[in-house]
Symmetry: C3
Amino acid sequence: MTDSTELVGRLVERVQLLEDKLDIMQIISAYGPAVDSGSAEAVAGLWTEDGVYDVDTGSMTGHSEIEAMVHSRNHQSYIHGGCAHLVGPPHIVLDGDTAVATCHSQLVMHDGESKTNRVARITANRWEFARIDGQWKVTVRTNRLLDGRAEAREILAAGVTAQP
Amino acid sequence: MTDSTELVGRLVERVQLLEDKLDIMQIISAYGPAVDSGSAEAVAGLWTEDGVYDVDTGSMTGHSEIEAMVHSRNHQSYIHGGCAHLVGPPHIVLDGDTAVATCHSQLVMHDGESKTNRVARITANRWEFARIDGQWKVTVRTNRLLDGRAEAREILAAGVTAQP
Amino acid sequence: MTDSTELVGRLVERVQLLEDKLDIMQIISAYGPAVDSGSAEAVAGLWTEDGVYDVDTGSMTGHSEIEAMVHSRNHQSYIHGGCAHLVGPPHIVLDGDTAVATCHSQLVMHDGESKTNRVARITANRWEFARIDGQWKVTVRTNRLLDGRAEAREILAAGVTAQP
């Protein structure tokens, strides 16, 4: 019996790790659809109550600041003109009840006059997660433009060279 | 024994859910390679026999109409000029034997004369799935251009705000 | 007991397959962050010692040649100007201790003068994997430009029409 119990116990752990990874992928894949549809609460709800969204253009802390960004005149003009926040498949490093996911994102914007689209931003993304009451939430997301600045490369390097 | 049997039974359910999600990801990740290589049967085979592919430029129903789109003069000129239908990581909401996946897609086209590429379309995607004889198939895929139209934003919002 | 033992044995196999797929996704999602940050060892380490990276502009064999590409004047000028190697969600076909993953990639480059980004390349990707000492590694990655050449379409077709 011990062998079997141990085997099942090990399986439970392996399944938990797989679920953790898919849960984190599921949160990251919600961001683009939520932000491009102006679903402010759905965007903010990906973060913890006091979570940080640190963008090169400024940093937001907590749900109300993140929601305010979605409701802002700037963001509303983007989504009413047509835009796509495309977030790439994340590289995920789990460490118990925390995790770091690293990926790229692109902001593609539609120009209604010329009927063309342009890649307005390419960005390095670092997503830090914590498991809170059994649910994964973003604690800090850091975005830096890939325009040659070292900070963006450092974000990408950290995600693929440090393993727990 | 009961405890162990229950534990294993619960594990079976959890593994099934993980498999369902990966199966759905696997179908969506087949679309781009299939359509950009003109693999008409592989494209159509992602859908049920009477599945619907509802694009803003028109709606197709059933394998023969989807295959006809791939064989069309238009699509053939795209793929022989060079193009990439890039479909983003999906946000998946499972509900037993049905599922909805929401994501963005991009159509990037090569221009042979200028040797440049342009993002011809950015699109909101809603994929509806059903499990048919144990296999996941697309029942309806709805694509709407992210050019400012409300319909595209509604597709994205529906995918991340409604949980079963 | 036999029933339960068989059930657990079958579960172990199913969990192993799920882990294999996520491990392969994890390798592919490391490429972009590694190459765009100039993390030469992390890039090369995705391949086997004698792994091949076959690009339309030339083929590299083994870690030292792959690292040399990352250290090259060309690549360094790309990443110091700002660039994003965006690798799409892969379609994975497992076959025991080998696997093939098929996807698209994009190279988006920043132009510091005009402050714009352009899609410099759209590419068909075939990744071949082997499990070596319990760890998945890339044995051959083949990239071909989606500029109309038949070879690129053949890579994409092979990945979605041949199932083991």
